[in-house]
Symmetry: D2
Subunit: 362 residues, 4 copies
């Protein structure tokens, strides 16, 4: 049967062929030419690999209860092996990470629990996952004590979280997001720290010692934008949306005011479950992001509509098999984070004023 | 730190540990103790394995464009290897399967296509997947000719689809859902055949030959219920909901009217993207199904909220590694499908009246 | 402050102004210039009104448990007042309508019910709505008896449902979807009747009388396409997707094979909760429908992403205030439905072969 | 026909009856006995009215682009008429409010825009809504100048937003969220201010004047908790989830550490589009909130799964007709917000330490 060829019909769908013993990367490789979100997940591996091949600063944003939900060591793996260069997280994810790094656990539960019984037993539920309120109170106190022990001055979340990660590492010597970031000198921003138990711990520090627990979240905006001004080529990976998604985009938009070398992220990958129809930022499309200049017009990009607890284990396992050589060749940005002013590649990244790259040299 | 033990806090979450070279079953095994839909996908493997170990008739329902989307050979694999015993499908999935088995393709496209341009070029789009309208018209004619060649009488979809599969196998000798089911003697029901291009082909048969193209969908209800009456222990696997989900449940409910040995499915697994909040059957919970008696009160069950194009390749790959011994030991129901009246285990499964198992022996 | 004018920035958003005593149409009028789904709902009123002003046959598709959920008299109102000309429904919606028209009820329940207790009490749950299984069994018998009383031959769902509506009206004289359609001579198609309790009733008719309960769903395809061939200008309104959505589109696509005057629906309105990302037809966009020729390239169209139990009461109340003059002026298609072959505008609409409008006159 | 009565089947569904001229409250009244989200929206009116009748502090959280999307005057109406006592918002909603209060607009656009063309034209898109980047830059400067004009010290968002609202009112004398809150002395918290254009404006203040633009978000935690300690009976209304949802719950949880009179919100109403299956806070159920003690075990509560741009205009219009007498009788909490330390009912609400209601009197 002779067919009219069409410019639209170039690449046939190749049905997925089942086989025992396939590894994650082999599975994703067979999913490249199927459809819908399966194809998008396979494409995500390629987009991430392109980020690793290019000379870009890779931001990872994480929202949702991914740490409590069992993905904290995946994120720690990304940090340690420098799949990413900067983490932007909700406070809850860092808090739940700290909870486990301190040797405690979250527990397998059911979404059909009797919540009144849980409340009576002092147990907090996150969908199908449980935790002890008493242990959480212990964490809050631990954070409060640590915060109260610091010099009483404002800290960006980036600085505070580095110090917290260091204290945690020294205390526990256990792997986790905060400790991995401390050891790998990877900055963490937490723009909505006031909306989390880390923020609650910080607020309790004020009870311990007047003048403690001051966080300079506006300084985080300046620092993150200066980071982009220093290294204008960037990439964005977002798990679940929320404040991290917008903060990563905002860093690029804000940087562009002060440097005409900044032109939006060169690559973008998001794994989301929200939809765009209701105007929320979490579900907004990567196309919409282009109108804002958050994303370069020709950026390689992919949205995967999936729960990260399914998509990320597969994606991370696949990358572990294929990204090694790319990671070995990567020219990673080198940070110092121990001082009030961080540096990248030897250059300061201030939090008190923007580096105006467009200003005429004096 | 001494902790109060709690009956609720028994099984700690174990963070997923990334490693190169993990196979699908190893990945799912590491996802058993994480949270949310990742855990549910791991549980799905267990529930399916329990079905294989038990003596149950396993129904698989498939809705959504899974065949066009690259999963038709996964379903064929389930049929050939008797992971399942009976398929209930939308017409579209069988039609798209036939399309590819006839040597044609679906094509990789984009959800951001210019649909007016596609319409001009005679190309049909399913989200990110394309097909040639001309080829589809060819399929319609092929189905119409075949249907017109049959004896002019009503056919259940089960009988018609068996004959269609046979014709397809003889013509193409290619693997696919219809041909696999034909060769493995696995019955296929298509309750909404009138809402599909297979139905369109059947309707066009009337143009070729008066009296052709009669389908007895009410006979399908009787046949499917009699099948459950003959073998009252059943399991339900549903991909995407739709008419197949309800039809599989209906078979059990209808059978229960005529046999008190029927008590709802013993196992249920659904991979869905719909939600229950709007009252639709596709998104309805497996708990709700219990109120109807569609599901036994103690049924092992799991809902995975995920796109099947992600979940199914992983799940099938994992099962390929672990289910072999279970499949080898399985006592599968044996069907004959070539005649107007099908049989299972040597017993007739009529389509013109219910087997009344409760009726007193005469 | 002087602004650059932009061709993109023409119509300002006008914030919704709260006021006591606003009627539904006044509220929708104030929602025209807000955003997101609120605007879309206001646009839906306009699109529907355009349908009423134009000379088009208006199809309404309904899926999901809208009858059980309290919207059956809204649909009956659309039928009686000829907001629509043809209904395509799932079987469940017609069955639940019949249930209430027979003087029975669905009941207010909770989504957090104890389903095992409900099962023990013989109560079926649809999300937050309950019904008595015993009453359902009574309905099944009632349908079976009626079906067994008919001449033993195949019936299209259109013919059967007309007869069923007539029987229901004569028995009960109560308002509902089936009785309103009977009295207004509005055809109803139910392509997936085999996947519903009406189908179950029909299947039980065979137990009462051999040869009864035969439904010719392929005839429905022919009839619905011939209807579009007879009146090529059409509009589609879809609540919830499912088989009705596709069947309405299929009628247009199938008709186009036999008449070059058919060019897709001129108007389309859908109220859906599904999303397009997973390739399912329910969530597919109206843009995608254009690639198939289901929708004319310049069709006025709107998708509202909302639960119909919120959107439809508002929309129907608003239209009740504004559509009166349009309804009064409407040139409605006039059907006869009492015979085996229906007519529209005096022309036959056969179910056994397509009217070939392209064929040369002999 | 005699029926077994059942304790489960008490309240029949009453189908919605269409009628011209129905007002919003009449429509909601007719939706009380339908199903699914329609019923939930009707219930929401009742729950809100119960809040107004009881002596509780009512928190309103708003996330998503509701201000840009045309709902800012609905929220302003709630503030002015004291349907609520305290607003917790994302920064974007306050920024978009300020944008319009300054006499500028958002514009009607399309979700199918050409984003590259928009980017070229300097236009930012939020789904179907557009805004001028140039005007946004103007806002940023305006905020930066104002922030730089303030005494250089840390401000809670509550204090800063009160001052900003005052400046906006004095400059524009136009209605909006910020100006209404200023005039009604209703506190606004913005825990994620660093993730918004208000934060960007604040960061730019540092360029204008060293030492300016310091925000004490940890102080917001203390203040909001002290507010609950001062008035332990509270209610939560949440639009869209996000940081406001959690912050309102956190205030209650944090307050409970220092006062045993605090026992979770007595009422909770959320209008959300997210779902709980993926573990995110936005979609989490109100039942889950009970396990945390965020919600009293016997709290009247309702979740409405709907876009706020549909649900809120209806709900606000209905309440405008029915809530008048309740508002007139309400004993509202009286705030002073002009100083660094706010007061409620004449009592101070400090931001530097928690009021320890459990501490023994000295």
């Amino acid at each position: 049967m002779m067919k009219k060829t069409s410019r639209f019909l170039q690449t046939p769908i190749e049905p997925f062929a089942v086989e025992a013993g396939l590894t994650a990367d082999e599975i994703l490789s067979r999913m490249e030419r199927i459809s819908f979100q399966g194809r998008n997940l396979a494409t995500a591996q390629h987009v991430w690999q392109k980020m690793l091949e290019d000379d870009v600063t890779i931001f990872l944003g994480m929202a949702g209860a991914l740490s409590a939900g069992g993905l904290r060591l995946v994120v720690a793996h990304f940090i340690t092996n420098r799949y990413i260069d900067c983490l932007v997280s909700t406070g809850a994810n860092l808090y739940h990470d700290l909870h486990e790094t301190r040797g405690q656990h979250h527990y397998v539960g059911s979404p059909h629990s009797d919540d009144a019984a849980l409340a009576d037993a002092g147990i907090d539920r996150v969908y199908d996952t449980l935790a002890s309120e008493e242990e959480f109170i212990g964490n809050d106190n631990w954070i409060a004590e640590f915060a109260a022990s610091l010099e009483a001055r404002p800290y960006t979340t980036r600085e505070f979280l580095y110090l917290l990660g260091g204290h945690l590492w020294k205390t526990t010597a256990r792997d986790g997001i905060l400790t991995a970031a401390y050891r790998a000198n990877v900055p963490i921003f937490c723009p909505a720290i006031a909306d989390s138990s880390i923020g609650m711990g910080l607020s309790q520090a004020r009870q311990e010692r007047a003048g403690s627990g001051y966080i300079d979240v506006i300084g985080d905006i300046v620092e993150s934008a200066n980071l982009v001004i220093r290294r204008p080529r960037t990439a964005s990976i977002v798990l679940g949306g929320g404040t991290p998604k917008n903060f990563i985009n905002q860093a690029s938009v804000q940087a562009e005011f002060y440097s005409d070398k900044v032109g939006g992220h060169r690559y973008a990958l998001q794994i989301v479950t929200d939809v765009p129809y209701f105007g929320g930022a979490s579900g907004s499309t990567l196309e919409e992001a282009q109108s804002w200049g958050k994303l370069a017009a020709d950026a390689a990009r992919i949205s995967v509509h999936a729960d990260a607890t399914i998509a990320l284990p597969i994606l991370a396992s696949a990358l572990a098999a294929t990204a090694g050589p790319l990671l070995a060749r990567r020219q990673i940005p080198v940070f110092t984070l121990a001082a009030r002013v961080m540096t990248v590649g030897g250059q300061t990244v201030p939090s008190d004023r923007f580096e105006d790259a467009n200003a005429p040299a004096v």
